[in-house]
Symmetry: C2
Subunit: 456 residues, 2 copies
């Protein structure tokens, strides 16, 4: 069998940033690397063209009576900036302190490699394994997966599986695995405000017009209440009640608020009333500003009134909020609150529906839960308990994997989300890394799940 760590280094070396067109070579390199790896394991690999970055569809066919698992992953990564904060270059993977450092090491190249390695090992031991496996590996996850839904609709006849298995969620500590049972959704947009038709001298003209930075600041300041809730009428209307078992499970997390606060490095939390910080990131929606820009940003000063300023807004949604409704409410607030002495435009960005799946044997488990999905949950529970030394927790998570709700809607399939990255892995931030002990344990758990399903 191949060495998964060495292969992961090769994978990370391809700078596959999907949101920036200057990384096209890195995108192609990463796609060709993972396609080649799956071909070497005997998979029939098809590289499906899209408008932007292709989707890898790799299948191991078999008797229709065999279980069929779809493994999802993505080969694209977040932009690496700000570059000057990295201790080693983002696309020169470096092994250090039992970790592999590099952009995409944890999101999602490392966890994807876990499942490829698990399948590789199992097939090496059992070349005739009675299990159908499909790898679906996309290249547009970090840009909102615009091609994935059309792909699902076009290829659904080949995706007639029992469930989807993936690792693109987190765990709180090296010895505490989390099976993610819910994901937040997303609504993103940019708001660009224009004042005067060109930049103005703040002395010659200051005092007669509303500065677009001021208009934008006043809008942004209006979007939260002082207690930390989102200040948009109707925003919380569809938020799902939390089940008691969910709060109980969360209480076993084993991280204290002081530890979490220290990890973040903040003077104090800022959480809506009635929720702990751990609950807030899982059970409540948010509105965040991901970027703001306007005017002079260089060294020293430039006494200018800028013509334009913009902000990038994102809302995280929870079940049963819908992106369409939240977008309407948000845009209505923006339109109503921006003053008439500036002009503005709202630029749609991507969105994702929130998702929830309930494990077997819970108060709210659906009565019609498929048997093979329940088998997979139970196999993972047993394997995690043995390999990691304690049972997994079943938690909703704050992040979004936009395609999970699409898969549910188009294919009717639920997803088993085996968390594998740690808080200190620095996803979407400088100095991303992946814990290599977690990687090896993850491979063992994944292998056991596939083996159990196949009856081995």
């Amino acid at each position: 069998m191949f060495d998964p760590v060495e292969r992961l280094k090769e994978f990370v070396r391809h700078p596959s940033v999907s949101t920036d067109s200057k990384y096209q070579d890195g995108m192609r390199g990463a796609q060709e690397f993972v396609s080649g790896l799956l071909r070497s394991l005997g998979f029939a690999v098809e590289v499906v063209k899209t408008n932007l970055h292709p989707i890898i569809l790799a299948q191991r066919a078999g008797d229709p009576s065999w279980p069929h698992v779809i493994v999802y992953g993505h080969y694209d990564v977040q932009p690496p900036d700000p570059l000057d904060l990295w201790k080693s270059p983002p696309f020169e993977p470096t092994e250090r302190d039992g970790r592999l450092w590099g952009r995409g090491a944890a999101d999602n190249k490392g966890p994807l490699m876990v499942h490829i390695a698990a399948v590789g090992r199992l097939l090496e031991r059992n070349p005739r394994l009675p299990l159908r496996i499909t790898f679906l590996i996309e290249g547009e996850e970090e840009t909102g997966s615009p091609s994935f839904l059309p792909f699902l609709e076009k290829y659904q006849h080949r995706l007639n599986a029992d469930f989807v298995f993936l690792s693109d969620t987190g765990i709180p500590r090296e010895d505490q695995v989390v099976i993610t049972c819910g994901l937040r959704g997303l609504v993103l947009c940019d708001v660009e405000v224009t004042g005067a038709k060109s930049d103005l001298h703040s002395g010659l003209h200051g005092g007669v017009l509303r500065n677009p930075i001021q208009a934008l600041a006043e809008l942004c300041a209006s979007l939260h209440t002082p207690d930390g809730r989102v200040n948009i009428p109707g925003f919380y209307n569809d938020v799902l009640e939390v089940e008691p078992w969910e709060r109980a499970e969360l209480s076993k997390l084993g991280t204290t608020e002081a530890e979490y606060r220290s990890f973040l490095g903040i003077p104090a939390f800022h959480v809506p009333p009635g929720y702990t910080p751990f609950e807030a990131i899982r059970f409540l929606p948010t509105l965040e500003f991901n970027g703001i820009s306007g005017g002079y940003q260089g060294e020293g000063s430039k006494t200018v009134i800028p013509s334009k300023a913009f902000v990038k807004i994102s809302c995280r949604l929870v079940p049963n909020q819908t992106p369409a409704k939240i977008r309407l409410l948000l845009y209505a607030a923006i339109r109503e609150r921006l003053p008439k002495d500036v002009t503005f435009r709202i630029i749609d960005q991507h969105e994702a529906t929130p998702y929830i799946v309930v494990p077997p044997d819970r108060s709210n488990t659906p009565k019609d839960q498929p048997a093979r999905l329940a088998t997979a949950f139970r196999a993972i529970d047993a394997a995690v308990t043995e390999v990691f030394g304690r049972p997994p927790l079943y938690l909703r998570e704050g992040g979004s994997v936009p395609i999970i709700a699409d898969i549910k809607r188009v294919l009717g399939l639920d997803s088993v989300l085996l968390g594998l990255f740690l808080p200190e892995d620095n996803l979407h931030a400088p100095n991303e890394s992946f814990n290599l002990r977690v990687m090896q344990k993850g491979i063992a758990v994944s292998e056991r799940m596939f083996a159990t399903l196949a009856g081995k």
Copy 2:
């Protein structure tokens, strides 16, 4: 005599941006160019070293009984960005439509060239002119003139003059000269807000902390009242009452509000109650945001909660506000209003005291106004009336020339500010230019002023 337009092109070709260290060669080039030009007119030129960019001290000595005029100017310019909005490159001066286009053409290289050319012509005709002239040309005006005050204090024994003469202020139309009788002051600072110790994934952690962009937006939004006044207690306490003759003079401006609004390209003015737009920029202080920045600013989206965000704030002050007091009030508001769940630092930038000078024969003219200053005012009034076809207006202006108040304090000298640039000259913005007809007329007026003072 030399051709002033050709010499101005040479001057503009040196990219003398004082706020950015990568333009050091351009700064030296501009300094050497203007020093050489003054030497060629017979001036004794001294290049006085400072911590940053040298000051040119060029003197024509003479009998102590002769009048002594100091001409002030600056050879540094604003940064040229955003570069993509320029129709011709900022440092390749281009003659087009009766104008010279290029960064610094109007601020301040063109107007400075006016006085050098006037002196050149006059001395060519009268080599023994009974007039002492000192050119003081600095290279740090656009960065707040940090070296100018120490220079004044050190060299004041050589600056024992009657008054200061300069052109670094504006006029509303080509045929309407303005003598600027007041300038606004300045207080600048940056505010940098820090949330978490590094950038965070907005899904994994969104909802537990205050985003620094949000904290900054809430602060910025708090700094104005809805009617457009600055919302800082005590901010307006020292604002000087406006004299009736000042409002009357302003009413002769000849620009309508509709024309001004259309020039700015804004949907509506946003002016504190009780003032016209023309009054607001001259008689009222402001608080502006010159730049704001935080988080992801590129193409597409990046769902990050940034660690830091900053804003660049500037206040324009009017007589008799003082920078020290306004800085205290502003900083107190910032400290009081930023929430305890973020950290922040305030970075001092430069400042300037507001200035006022009253022309002869007005309700508030000082009884002890020096005779040679009054002579200069009257000579300019007559020359402008003849050359431009109508008398000048005597107005306070919204801009700042930080060293004018320093000159008053250290040398005890008032300044005669002959406006020469037009609104469409685009100071501090892309596509700066200088009107060459105004340039030629300005040379004639300046020459007449020097000649009258010298008794010719």
